[in-house]
Symmetry: C2
Subunit: 355 residues, 2 copies
C-alpha cells in the first residue's frame, strides 16, 4: 500500500511540515447530509447501515464528495464491540442505543470474553477494506473505537445515561468487577483496532466520550490506564508507514498532560479549552486535534469563518502538529453550506498563515 496522495492529515499527526492545516469532522458522515439520510432510509435502520459494508462505504465517502476534507473516517457505531460480546445492541427511534442484556450480574461479568474481530466483527473489516479500495489512495482512512470506560458505561447502564449511577455504583462498590469488564474490553478494543489497521485503516482514534464524567483519580484508574494499555498494544507501523493514534477524552481538559503521556501521537480536544493553552501545557510532545464548538456551525458564515480563524490563530500561526476538527460530533441540524465555509476557511487561512 502506498501513501495517500493527500497525506497532510498523517503528516500533521506526526508533527511534520504541511502546506496547510488538515481538517476532518467528527461524525462527518451523518444526518446533516441529505444524501446520508437517503442511504439510511434505503438501509432500513441505523444498525443495518452499520452492518452493510457497501452502505457503510457509501456514507463514509459522502462528505468527501461534498467537502475538501483531508481524511475519511470509517462509518460505524461506537458500540459494535459490546454488541459482538453478545449484549444485544438495538436502537429505539429517537432514544439512542440500548442493550438487551445490560452487564450487571457477577456471573455475566465473569463470562465476558473479547470477541475475535475477524469473526463477529467481520462486517467492520469488510467495510474498512471496501472503503480503502473506494478511496483509491486519495486521503487516509481513520479507524476508531470507543474507550473501554465509555463502552462500559453503555454496557452497564444499558444505554445512554445522565448520571451513570449504575457504573459509578459498581466503581464505588465493586471496583473488582468494573476492572474485569474494562480489562476484557481493553483486550477487545486492542484486537478490534489492530484488525482495522490490518484491514487498511491508516490511523486510529479512541473516543473516550464519558471519561470526563469521572473524578481525576477515578479517571486515571478506570479510563486512562486502559487506554494506555490499548495504545501499547496497537500496530504502529504497517507497510513501512507509521499508524498514528489519536486519543480523545471529552471533558478531559484538566488531564491533558497525562493523556499526552500514554504513548499516543495526538490528543483530541473538546471546545472548552483554548487550544493555545492546551499547546502551552503539553508543548510539542504530541499533535493536537480540534477544537471548534460544533454549535458555531449554527452561526452566520462570517461567524463560522471568524471562529475557525480564532482556533487556527490560537494554535499558533502556521505551525504544524494541528489537525482541525470540531470539539465533538457535528450536529444533525447543521446547515451543510456552513461546513463548506468552515472547510474552505481552514484551508485558505492556514495556507496564508504559512506564508
Amino acid at each position: 500500500m502506498t501513501r495517500p496522495r493527500n497525506d497532510t492529515f498523517l503528516r500533521a499527526l506526526l508533527r511534520q511540515p504541511t502546506e496547510y492545516t488538515p481538517i476532518w469532522l467528527m461524525r462527518q458522515a451523518g444526518r446533516y447530509l441529505p444524501e446520508y439520510c437517503q442511504t439510511r432510509k434505503r438501509a432500513g435502520d441505523f444498525l443495518s447501515l452499520c452492518k452493510s459494508p457497501s452502505l457503510a462505504c457509501e456514507v463514509t465517502l459522502q462528505p468527501l464528495a461534498r467537502y475538501d476534507l483531508d481524511a475519511a473516517i470509517l462509518f460505524s457505531d461506537i458500540l459494535t464491540v459490546p454488541d459482538a460480546m453478545g449484549l444485544g445492541l438495538y436502537f429505539e427511534e429517537g432514544e439512542g442505543p440500548r442493550f438487551e442484556r445490560p452487564l450487571r450480574e457477577e456471573w455475566a461479568i465473569r463470562d465476558l470474553t473479547a470477541p475475535d474481530p475477524f469473526d463477529r466483527l467481520r462486517y467492520v473489516m469488510d467495510a474498512v477494506a471496501e472503503i480503502r479500495r473506494a478511496l483509491d489512495n486519495s486521503v487516509p482512512l481513520i479507524g476508531f473505537s470507543g474507550s473501554p470506560y465509555t463502552l462500559a458505561c453503555y454496557m452497564i447502564e444499558g444505554g445512554g445515561s445522565k448520571d451513570f449511577r449504575h457504573i459509578k455504583g459498581m466503581l464505588y462498590c465493586r471496583p473488582d468487577l468494573l476492572h474485569r469488564i474494562l480489562g476484557v474490553t481493553a483486550d477487545a478494543v486492542t484486537a478490534y483496532l489492530n484488525a482495522q489497521i490490518e484491514s487498511g485503516a491508516q490511523a486510529a482514534m479512541i473516543f473516550d466520550t464519558w471519561g470526563g464524567s469521572l473524578s481525576a483519580s477515578a479517571y486515571r484508574e478506570f479510563s486512562l490506564a486502559y487506554m494506555r494499555r490499548i495504545v501499547a498494544g496497537l500496530i504502529r507501523e504497517r507497510d513501512g508507514q507509521r499508524v498514528p493514534v489519536i486519543v480523545f477524552t471529552k471533558g478531559g481538559g484538566l488531564w491533558l498532560e497525562e493523556i499526552a503521556a500514554i504513548g499516543c501521537d495526538a490528543v483530541g480536544l473538546d471546545w472548552s479549552i483554548d487550544i493555545g493553552d492546551a499547546r502551552r501545557r503539553i508543548g510539542d510532545k504530541v499533535a493536537l486535534q480540534g477544537n471548534l464548538d460544533p454549535n458555531v456551525l449554527f452561526g452566520t458564515p462570517e461567524t463560522v469563518a471568524a471562529e475557525a480563524k480564532n482556533v487556527l490563530d490560537a494554535f499558533g500561526a502556521g505551525d504544524t502538529g494541528h489537525v482541525f476538527n470540531l470539539g465533538h460530533g457535528i450536529s444533525q441540524f447543521t446547515p451543510p453550506e456552513n461546513v463548506t465555509t468552515l472547510v474552505d476557511t481552514v484551508r485558505s487561512y492556514s495556507q496564508l498563515l504559512r506564508k
Copy 2:
C-alpha cells in the same frame, strides 16, 4: 440579627479558623429523603411546593433534622426568575422543567424586563424569612440563584437540552440579542439575591450549571462577565456581618483562576478536578467548596468514608478555607444512611486533622 450559633460555614468561606471542615450538600432537601417525598405529595406538585413558603420551609429543614449539617439552603427552583419574567414555568412529570413561552423572538427579547423580587417573587422572600425564624440562629441560611447564562439556556431552549443549539445558535448568529437577555437577567438576579439577603439569607450562591458547555472565550463573554456584574451588585454586609458569595460553574475547572477573580468569596468545584490542584492554582485568594462525586454515595460506607477523607487530605490537612460539599446535587437514588456516614466522617476526620 445575631450570628448563628454554628457559624463554621461562614467562617470557612471567609477563610477564618474553624474547628472542623463544615459540610452541606447541594440539593440536600430532595427526593432521596422519604420525608421530602411525603411533603411533596402533600403539596400536590413540585411547583406548588416551591411556591408555598411554609412547605418550602418544612423541606429546607428536613436534612438538618437528620444530619449534622453546617448550613441550610433555601428550597426553591432555579427557574423562579424566568417564571417571574412571564415565561410560564411548568413541569412535565419525569421530563424536567419547561417554559410555555421560550424566548426566541426579537420582540419578546426587547420586551423582557427584570421583575420586582418583592412582588412577583414574594413567595421566595416569605420562605426565606420563615426559614430564618425556624432555624432560630442555629446554622446559616444560603440564598441562591441560577447564573444568567444558565437561566438563559432554559429560557431560550424552553427546557433542558443536550446540545443547547438554540442558545448557541443565537450566540453565534445574534450575540446582541443574547447579550440583551443576559443583561436583563443579570439585573433580575442581582435584585433577587439582594432581596433574599434583605429577607434573611446569610450567604449567596450562584449556580452556573451550563457555563461549562461554552468555549473558553464564549464563557468569559457570555457567562463570567455577567456573574462578575452580579457579584459587584450584591449586598456584602448586613447587620455588621459579611455576606459571603459562592460562584459555581459546573465544568469550569479550566477557568478557576478567572472565576476566583470576579470578587466572590468562594468558588464551587465539581468533582472532575482534584481539589488540591485547584487550591495550588488559585492559592488562598478565595475559599473552595466541594467536591465529592455524588455517585460516591452509591458506594459502600467504607468507600464513602475513604473518598471523603481523600478530598479532605487533598485540600490540605486541617487548613481553613474549605467547605465540604458534593461536586453536583445529590442523586434522588442516594441511600440516606450513606449521607450519615459522609457527614460524620467529614466532621470527625477534619477535627482530627486539626489536632
